[in-house]
């Protein structure tokens, strides 16, 4: 644990204050804008709303089907996160604990995918989905929720695999050994020993997967229709051809971010863990 000293204390307070202000300033603007009528939001800036009104908060549900979009985003992001974490944990375990030919090729190829801009493979991916659907004869991937989940989950895999491999690497092999000595197989060791110890890393990666899917715009815009539209693109619909409803955008953002923040609050406790000295013996 990094102990205390005067200069460190000062740093702690100063940095803490700066980060709070930097982080919360836009949040405050969102809050005050959501409480202003549209004309005021577009007018001169005031710290506190001149006319306090909650009308934006009721309008947001009708201007745009916000409830539907929210539900779609939640389902898509939660599903893709769960599956991404499962696939990544399995892969990371293999990469961390085993040496096999093709290992470094796999790691590097997976890393290389992070260098491709989305626009490059957006249309080919679309074509592949359509062709698969055509050859299977059913609409499995094209403009379906399933197709979007598969896409999201794969986008998050490279980072998840790399990070989890590193988190797993930090867990000493002795833990695995002691499990095997007790008779556990591969999956048993993974699930009973490695995963619990790597919990902060897994949670962090899960949060990343969820948030990355939550914010995805480019592929979501193409792969959804009006019933499967997600929040990230749905929010843009508060801008019509001739007018932008700023107060509603801010209100909608607050409304949809609030549950996420609450989840963060609950989850952040699990980001703590420690390799307690007792676990190895």
């Amino acid at each position: 644990m990094v102990g205390e000293s005067r200069s460190f204390r000062v740093f702690q307070v100063a940095m803490g204050l700066f980060l709070c202000v930097f982080t919360l300033a836009p949040v405050y603007v969102m809050l005050s804008s959501s409480l202003k009528p549209l004309a005021d939001v577009q007018g001169a800036f005031t710290w506190w709303p001149k006319h306090l009104t909650f009308q934006a908060f009721s309008q947001i549900w009708t201007t745009v089907p916000l409830g539907l979009y929210f539900e779609n985003s939640l389902i898509d992001c939660a599903s893709s996160t769960v599956f991404a974490v499962i696939v990544a944990v399995l892969a990371a375990y293999g990469l961390s604990r085993y040496r096999f030919s093709g290992r470094s090729a796999f790691m590097r190829t997976v890393l290389a995918t992070q260098m491709f801009p989305g626009v490059l493979f957006l249309l080919p991916l679309f074509l592949i989905f359509v062709n698969i659907d055509n050859s299977l004869g059913i609409t499995l991937l094209y403009q379906t929720r399933f197709g979007l989940i598969v896409t999201f989950l794969t986008f998050n895999l490279p980072f998840a695999i790399w990070m989890l491999t590193r988190y797993f690497d930090a867990i000493p092999g002795e833990l695995d050994e002691s499990a095997r000595v007790d008779g556990a197989g591969t999956m048993g060791t993974l699930l009973r020993v490695v995963v619990p110890v790597a919990r902060p890393g897994i949670i962090a990666v899960a949060v990343y997967c969820f948030m990355a899917s939550w914010s995805e715009i480019l592929f979501a815009s193409v792969m959804t229709d009006s019933s499967t539209t997600t929040l990230s693109i749905g929010l843009q619909s508060y801008a019509s051809q001739s007018n932008v409803y700023w107060n509603q955008i801010m209100a909608a953002t607050l409304v949809v971010s609030l549950p996420i923040v609450v989840i963060f609050l609950l989850v952040q406790r699990h980001l703590i863990s420690g390799l307690t000295t007792g676990s190895i013996k």
Binding site: A39, L127, I128, V222, Y238, Q241, V244
Partner: protein, 438 residues
């Protein structure tokens, strides 16, 4: 770092996959038999104040259609932000809606992909023939064979604040010079009151004005061989005419950062700007900001007087939305029936009234915009002072290259740097160089 076998296998799979692309799905034409019970998918554009508003406007009309023909319509309202990408994806994959809308600026590009159905004369006769449309407006959809048809029309007008004008003792300008001098008289920087408001950072608006003012000055963005001619005198002078508005200080410099019209509209609605050049769909937006039609008037955007050599007294281009049928549709007959319904006089009247848009049909009544004077102004602009954008597949590229250069130039003017003619010329040279070769 060499590509692994994995990537090589991937390449082979890509080739195999790409060969499947060659199999295009055949377009089935609906049988002549009863169409009742079919469902067609319609991608409507966002014309109203919100997606929900569009649904509210269109659903009863679509129900009328279903009652008449038994054909159900699966309505999807596509926001403008994703419209292009979605149509692109539909084009590439061959899987799309049966009927769709898009802005008529894109009509030629989408038409050139071959994904849209070219109307044969027998198909046109099923909807009453192409003669039923206003010639100017139809011309914006191209030439026969048409791949899309006009659905809604819009035009630019010069909106002016009646109170501010009468207070300054001004009448609406009829020449460009008058516009500039009126704007100067209305500008009082100390009270943050300006003569004109623009969307300086909007790529599309800038392109529209680049076109209109180029034509006023005798220039044209493309020549007869469809090659870009952005650097000719007429084009450059036209741009200079527009940029000078910002340089002369009659526009709030902050407008250089406005890409959505928020600032522009709020300035005009709150009496902080005396004029704005904008399309008629600003009317409902102004209403939502508390400005009623009795508070402002509309006149055509004036041209310099006397007109420069080769110039035209153009006040607007023919803006609007077109309707088209996807070539691959398996429900061709049902789709044609739907287009017929949407372009019928009765439906046009109903929709134009609800959306406050201009009609596309010849001889349509003018009840669509509530204020008769404003309605008359727009009708005459559309019929007599508007021309289509260049009928070229590269209009979108033109919009991007010239529009974005203009954003930068206006930004320069706003921050106080002088924008010389040679600067405009070199900007246009850059834009021209970035046009895709044809």
């Amino acid at each position: 770092m060499k590509l692994s076998k994995l990537a090589a296998a991937g390449a082979m799979a890509a080739l195999a996959g790409a060969s499947l692309i060659g199999c295009s799905s055949s377009s089935g034409s609906g049988s002549g038999a009863s169409l009742a019970g079919t469902t067609i998918t319609y991608w409507a554009t966002n014309q109203g104040a919100s997606l929900q508003a569009d649904k509210t406007v269109l659903t009863p009309e679509l129900n009328k259609f279903t009652k008449e023909t038994g054909i159900k319509v699966n309505l999807q309202v596509i926001p403008w932000a994703t419209d292009d990408t979605k149509i692109l994806a539909a084009t590439v994959s061959g899987k799309g809606p049966d009927v769709l809308n898009f802005g008529n600026t894109d009509a030629w590009t989408f038409g050139a992909t071959g994904a849209l159905l070219p109307w044969t004369s027998s198909q046109l006769s099923q909807i009453g023939g192409s003669g039923k449309f206003i010639p100017n407006v139809l011309a914006a959809a191209g030439q026969a064979p048409y791949t899309s048809l006009p659905l809604y029309s819009q035009a630019y007008g010069l909106f002016y604040n009646k109170a501010m004008f009468s207070k300054a003792g001004l009448t609406p300008p009829t020449t460009w010079q008058e516009l500039v001098s009126d704007a100067k008289k209305l500008t009082n920087a100390s009270t943050q009151s300006y003569g004109m408001a623009i969307q300086g950072a909007s790529v599309s608006e800038n392109m529209h004005f680049a076109y209109i003012f180029a034509r006023q000055n005798g220039g044209s963005p493309f020549n007869a061989q469809n090659q870009p001619t952005f650097t000719t005198t007429g084009n450059v002078n036209g741009l200079e005419q527009y940029i000078n508005l910002m340089s002369s200080g009659v526009i709030n410099p902050s407008d250089a950062q406005d890409s959505t019209g928020t600032l522009q509209m709020s300035q005009f609605a709150h009496g902080k700007a005396g004029m704005m050049m904008i399309q008629n769909d600003a009317i409902p937006a102004l209403a939502s900001l508390g400005m009623s039609t009795s508070q402002y008037g509309v006149v055509p955007i004036p041209a310099p007087s006397p007109l420069p050599a080769g110039g035209q007294d153009l006040a607007s281009f023919v803006a609007g939305t077109n309707i088209a049928i996807f070539k691959n549709t398996p429900h061709l007959d049902a789709a044609i029936k739907f287009v017929n319904f949407m372009t019928s006089a009765a439906e046009q009247q109903a929709l134009d009234q609800k959306y406050q848009l201009l009609p596309v049909l010849s001889g349509a009544s003018q009840g669509f915009i509530s204020d008769p004077a404003i309605a008359q102004a727009f009708t005459s602009i559309l019929n007599t002072k508007a021309q289509p954008l260049p009928l070229k597949a590269n209009v979108e590229a033109y919009q991007q290259t010239v529009g974005s250069q203009l954003v930068t130039l206006i930004g320069k003017a706003a921050t106080g740097s002088a924008v010389s003619t040679s600067a405009i010329q070199s900007a246009m040279q850059s834009a021209q160089a970035q046009m895709p070769a044809t």
